[in-house]
């Protein structure tokens, strides 16, 4: 699949934004008298909303006819893209109510917990629908599995957790517990991504034989039938050399997981907390952007079976 920059930016930043919002909500609900204070929580929420908004705006850049984008909420009964759009838009008023609650301050702790959990679940559900946009496509076996939405959620929460840690360190609220919890998030996200890399390695699904219905003999493409590229070859024909994909996978593991985890474990003793966490955040974003690029570059659409591929 052709990796579109706008979609990569959208999924990474909005995922991080929803992750940050969810973690802020839950953290504030568990420790209502934290060092962040209502100002810190509101700052974190605002940054999360900014990330989400940048992502959503970016996602409209890959539309060929954006003037009809408002129609994209009309088919929530069947389309994961419509569901994603609806959940993303409805998140704003919910986030607004949450921020208003924090700003005004409430006497009822139960109400704070309820609105926090509801907002956090809504944020996670939105990332889930983003993942399902890809996971529901039977035409791309690298996407059509349960690990796709899992990776979207875990990576979003991991990035959000690291950004939250960065903010907390500015409010001198980055306790050792918080740092340990951030490394847990990194570990869980890394595990799921590594499982995914192995999972998509085994060949399965349609072949050139089922694509042409000649299932009992060797089939080779002689002529693809067009002299130059088409929309289909541009959109689905994107292919990267195997060696480069492997190298990029190692870079994902290094930048997205290994460096942030090491900096939080070891680096924290050698440099100021804020510096260490900044390095972790920068490295994690770099790694996840490469991860998202790979997510597209490694995906092989079955239409390639009509352009010469024997198996996808």
């Amino acid at each position: 699949m052709h990796p579109a920059i706008s979609v990569i930016f959208f999924t990474v930043t909005s995922g991080a934004g929803y992750g940050l919002f969810a973690i802020t909500c839950l953290y504030n609900a568990i420790n209502p008298h934290n060092a962040l204070g209502s100002q810190g929580v509101l700052t974190a929420s605002a940054i999360a909303l900014a990330l989400i908004t940048m992502g959503l705006i970016s996602s409209t850049f890959h539309l060929a006819n954006p003037k009809n984008a408002w129609r994209a909420f009309s088919r929530i009964r069947t389309s994961w893209l419509a569901r994603e759009g609806l959940l993303a838009v409805l998140f704003y008023p919910i986030a607004g109510i949450y921020m208003l609650t924090v700003w005004k301050g409430v006497d009822s702790y139960n109400w704070l917990v309820a609105i926090s959990v509801f907002t956090a679940l809504w944020a996670i559900a939105t990332v889930f629908t983003t993942g399902m946009i890809y996971a529901c496509l039977k035409t791309i076996r690298q996407w059509h599995n349960a690990l796709t939405p899992v990776n979207y959620i875990l990576l979003g929460v991991m990035l959000g957790g690291l950004v939250f840690l960065l903010l907390a360190s500015m409010y001198t609220a980055a306790t050792i517990n918080l740092i340990i919890n951030a490394t847990y998030l990194i570990g869980i996200a890394a595990t799921a991504k590594i499982v995914y890399f192995f999972w998509i390695g085994s060949p399965a699904g349609p072949t050139i034989n089922t694509a042409t219905a000649f299932t009992r003999s060797m089939v080779r493409l002689l002529d693809v039938g067009h002299t130059a590229g088409t929309f289909l070859t541009d959109e689905f024909g994107y292919q990267v050399a195997r060696a480069r994909l492997i190298l990029l996978r190692w870079m994902v593991l290094l930048f997205a997981f290994a460096v942030p985890a090491l900096v939080l474990w070891v680096g924290i003793n050698m440099m100021p907390v804020a510096t260490a966490v900044t390095i972790a955040v920068a490295s994690a974003f770099t790694g996840v952007i490469i991860e998202r690029w790979l997510f597209f570059a490694e995906a092989r659409h079955v239409v390639n079976l009509y352009h010469g591929a024997q198996q996808c």
Partner: protein
């Protein structure tokens, strides 16, 4: 009704007339224009609803060149319609034709991602998705003589390799020929239940190209082979 096409891979000669007729009809029809870029330049590209690929099937000497025209399969369970967020893609209740309402399409390409057959192509000039309409603006046209109310590709095929009809009627030409000639769907394992069917080439004995050598040793070998084969 479940309208669709049957394509006879035994008689298709790969002349591309169906693709050209399709382009001609539809570029001036309701979904037109089918934009071309650099049509006379170095890398001509553009929107086509029908594309013909050529395959070699089997190994020599039992190999065969198969010409393979492909357009929208008008799937019974059309994933392109399911995933469309705007409602621009729809499947007609009355005859099963899958269409795009170009006034609603936002050009997100999602339906093209969901289609395994490459039936949908984005018109990069208009910014909307375009696809085979089964010549919906032809097959119901009361101004045409009744035997011309067929898709342009079917009308034009000089090898009579394309059939159009109603698969819901078990006695229609397309149903009968699919049954008798063992017509099959492409990539049925994805479960989209494509309506269009492909008739496999008839099995024929390959043309004998083996030349007997005349030296005594090979004559003995041939004789032994024949005895063993019996």
């Amino acid at each position: 009704m479940k309208l669709g096409l049957v394509i006879d891979l035994d008689t298709c000669v790969g002349c591309n007339a169906c693709a050209v007729a399709c382009k001609q009809w539809n570029t001036s029809g309701t979904t037109g224009p089918l934009t071309d870029f650099e049509p006379y330049g170095k890398d001509p590209t553009g929107v086509w609803f029908n594309r013909i690929r050529n395959y070699e099937v089997g190994d020599y000497p039992n190999s065969k060149t198969v010409h393979f025209p492909m357009s929208c399969m008008h799937c019974d369970d059309a994933a392109c319609v399911t995933v469309c967020p705007t409602g621009a893609s729809y499947k007609r209740e009355e005859d099963g034709i899958v269409l795009v309402d170009q006034d609603k399409c936002m050009g997100c390409n999602y339906c093209a991602w969901a289609c395994p057959y490459g039936a949908r192509e984005l018109d990069r000039e208009d910014g909307v998705m375009k696809k085979c309409t089964l010549c919906v603006d032809r097959i119901y046209d009361q101004n045409l003589p009744e035997d011309e109310r067929k898709p342009a590709c079917v009308m034009t095929c000089p090898a009579h390799a394309r059939y159009f009809g109603d698969f819901d009627d078990p006695n229609s030409e397309v149903s009968v020929i699919t049954r008798e000639r063992d017509g099959s769907a492409l990539m049925p394992e994805l479960g989209y239940e494509p309506v269009n069917k492909y008739l496999p080439p008839r099995s024929k004995k390959h043309v004998e190209t083996y030349m007997n050598e005349t030296n005594p040793i090979s004559k003995v070998k041939d004789w032994v082979n024949r005895i063993v084969a019996r």
